[in-house]
């Protein structure tokens, strides 16, 4: 009865563009439920009602197909395969006395007696797709079979319901999703050194600021150019870049426990955000006990709830520090960490105030144009990130928010130097700028 259609092409299609989710052509799913594997295409839509019978008929047909699909999709299983689950109101959990099925690889927890305990999210999800038959644990002799409506009535808050909607949305796509607080933590030694490191970094920041100011002040005075000379645009940029300090993004997983001092002197309230879900891409060897670092961490945000506001920067920083998921750029950068430090030192000594010394960065640029690609990727992707699932009255969209750092990436070019080099080369072609 319950046919599962794994039509990947289809939902990617719909997800790929918001404009497309706007068009729902139920005739295709109606066919799908009739076991025909068809990749749906966009339905044709009209500009506005034109009063014709043809249009009326097309609308009638579209609705008919939609409601036929809804009415024909019975939820449940044949008696032989039925798995009963029982909801306990006091613990807000459910248990399955005789558990079996694939879902156990990624959901629930089996206790010593072999009973599988489900979080409420998991229970509702499995019931909705017909895998589990839900009951309310009433007494020893009788349990009340629950409907979907009953299950939803047991959500304790609208926030929990929003979270569930996101949970189910990701589960349907095959992701492995767990509530973030249930996952065993790796490396919880943060607390012990946090006070010390924050003190160190605080004092370092102070010294750093002092130096920055010392360098800055004369630069922006009229006498500055009487004293100093710049022999490359790079030196000029280096001076300019000293004015405004910037927050650096956490680039390496290993550094995530270093707590930077974040001054919270905001007049506004700073909300403590919590990660809602840890998410893993679908994979075969997933182990609930040792799940490893999640691929994504998700925060659910209801854009219309008056109790919720989009995070401020202070809240973002707080969140980024709590993240544990893999970030796009991490692995790629970790290898070259040392190389980068050495490079920076070199660049510093080369560029500094030594006149006439060719900037190392310039050489590098010309030698390895591929570096450009990674820089642009770093800037576009950023570092640590989380996914924000935005709930808009039932429609869920996702955004990826990543901590970024433009401050350490210079994209300046030294036109003069490039020109000189080019004129030295014999077969200098008309310039085609590629940076």
């Amino acid at each position: 009865m319950a046919v599962e259609n794994e039509s990947n092409g289809k939902d990617q299609h719909s997800d790929s563009d918001d404009d497309i989710t706007d068009v729902q052509d139920w005739s295709h799913i109606a066919k799908l439920t009739r076991k025909q594997a068809i990749i749906p295409k966009r339905g044709e839509k009209d500009y506005e009602p034109d009063g014709t019978d043809v249009q009326e008929f097309l609308l009638f047909q579209a609705r008919q197909e939609m409601f036929d699909t809804l009415l024909n999709a019975a939820r449940g299983s044949v008696k032989k395969n039925t798995i009963n689950g029982y909801y306990e109101q006091t613990t807000h959990q459910a248990f399955i006395p005789f558990p079996r099925g694939n879902f156990m690889h990624t959901m629930g927890q089996v206790d010593r007696t072999g009973v599988c305990w489900l979080e409420f999210n998991e229970f509702v999800y499995l019931s909705e797709r017909g895998t589990v038959r839900p009951f309310l644990k009433c007494g020893d002799d009788f349990d009340l079979p629950l409907s979907v409506q009953d299950l939803y009535a047991y959500f304790r808050s609208s926030e929990e319901l929003d979270n569930y909607a996101v949970y189910a949305h990701l589960k349907r796509l095959g992701f492995i999703v767990t509530s973030s607080r249930h996952r065993p933590r790796i490396g919880c030694s943060e607390n012990t050194n946090s006070t010390r490191t924050s003190w160190i970094s605080k004092s370092f920041n102070c010294i750093n600021r002092l130096f920055t100011n010392l360098f800055n002040v004369p630069f922006y005075s009229p006498f500055f150019y009487k004293i100093l000379r710049f022999t490359s645009s790079g030196q000029l940029y280096l001076q300019l870049s000293k004015l405004v300090p910037y927050y650096s993004a956490q680039k390496f997983a290993s550094l995530s426990s270093v707590h930077e001092h974040v001054p919270i002197k905001s007049e506004r309230q700073v909300k403590e955000w919590h990660i809602t879900f840890d998410v893993w891409k679908p994979k075969a060897g997933f182990k609930k006990k040792t799940p490893g670092v999640p691929d994504f961490q998700v925060i659910v945000f209801n854009k219309n709830a008056s109790s919720q506001r989009f995070p401020t920067y202070r809240e973002f920083r707080y969140l980024f520090r709590k993240l544990e998921s893999k970030s796009d750029a991490t692995s790629e950068r970790e290898d070259s960490k040392w190389g980068r430090i050495v490079g920076k030192l070199k660049a510093f000594f080369n560029r500094g105030y030594w006149p006439g010394e060719p900037s190392s960065e310039c050489k590098e640029k010309e030698a390895k144009p591929s570096k450009k690609v990674t820089q642009i990727q770093r800037l576009k992707k950023g570092y640590k990130s989380f996914i924000m699932a935005v709930m808009d009255d039932g429609l869920i969209s996702y955004i990826r928010l990543s901590e970024n750092e433009f401050g350490s990436e210079s994209v300046w070019y030294d036109g003069a130097r490039m020109q000189n080099k080019r004129s030295k080369r014999k077969n200098a072609k008309p310039t085609k700028m590629t940076n």
């Binding site: 009865m1 839509k45 609308l59 409907s147 008056s306 039932g394």
Partner: protein
């Protein structure tokens, strides 16, 4: 909007999931497919959010519950089409009221459903055998375990309690809680004005607004308007940067960016202005 609702139709039941006993930021849901059909005829589409058991691995086509915007729910209640029910309260009352005869009745209903399936399956089976020219006496052994056990959409327990909620005082209290902030109230006025002009209204964050408005059923028509949150008519300066962005947003997707102004000082309703990039400059 097509044919209006008949006077005699019973009210559509909207379940509200709140926070404990409070319904600020509550979520409004409809579980009954027939009700959803009626809503659609009224020009209210809502968003289907539940897993479709026949295609449980996708998100394009979903089933009940239908989630309504608070605006939609309030509009339905104000126009007498629907009643808000606190499902949690109703369920708890219902469960505690269940008597021995209720349990028996439920058993009987389930058994009746099974019996119907048995009859149908037997007939089908015999049909098949007859086609190949065989007759077998007993099929019940396999049949019993292949009976389908259904988890239904709507609750029978909650339905018994719904009438307790259909009082003007209670409904007003729930509506007030759903529209508890100034922002929500203003947005509701904008929503109502869009409905009054015949538009079908959906949540709009996909297009960068609070609402998007369609000239008819979204199944058949492209949306025409993207509506950002309501503005104060008199004293809220327009954010021109937003307006430039909004107007530009529309040109690509053939939608107008519509500003709705709400004036506390007059009852003249909502003043709309439609914005579109002029195509030059």
């Amino acid at each position: 909007m097509e044919a209006l609702e008949g006077e005699n139709d019973s009210k559509i039941e909207i379940s509200v999931v709140g926070n404990g006993n409070r319904f600020e930021d509550g979520v409004c849901l409809v579980f009954d497919i027939e009700s959803i059909r009626r809503l659609r005829r009224l020009g209210i589409t809502g968003i289907l959010t539940g897993t479709l058991p026949s295609a449980a691995q996708q998100n394009v086509f979903l089933t009940v519950p239908l989630r309504l915007m608070a605006e939609e729910a309030v509009w339905l209640v104000e126009n007498g089409f629907a009643v808000l029910v606190s499902d949690r309260e109703a369920l708890e009352m219902g469960v505690s009221d269940l008597t021995a005869s209720d349990w028996d009745e439920m058993d009987k209903q389930q058994e009746a459903l099974f019996e119907e399936q048995r009859r149908f399956k037997r007939e089908q089976h015999f049909e098949k055998l007859r086609a190949v020219g065989k007759t077998v006496a007993n099929v019940d052994a396999n049949l019993e375990s292949s009976l389908f056990v259904e988890t239904r959409n709507e609750s029978s327990v909650i339905q018994r309690q719904r009438y307790d909620f259909d009082t003007p005082e209670l409904q007003k209290r729930l509506v007030d809680q759903l529209l508890h902030s100034e922002t929500l109230k203003s947005n509701y006025l904008v929503y109502k004005a869009l409905r009054a002009q015949g538009y079908c209204v959906s949540p709009g964050s996909r297009f960068g607004g609070r609402y998007i408005a369609y000239p008819g059923d979204p199944l058949r028509y492209h949306s025409h308007l993207t509506v950002p949150p309501a503005l104060r008519y008199r004293d809220e300066p327009l954010d021109l940067l937003q307006l430039v962005g909004g107007g530009r947003l529309g040109t690509g997707v053939k939608k107008l960016w519509v500003l709705g102004g709400v004036d506390d000082e007059s009852d003249e309703g909502v003043t709309f202005f439609s914005v579109e990039w002029a195509g030059f400059g």
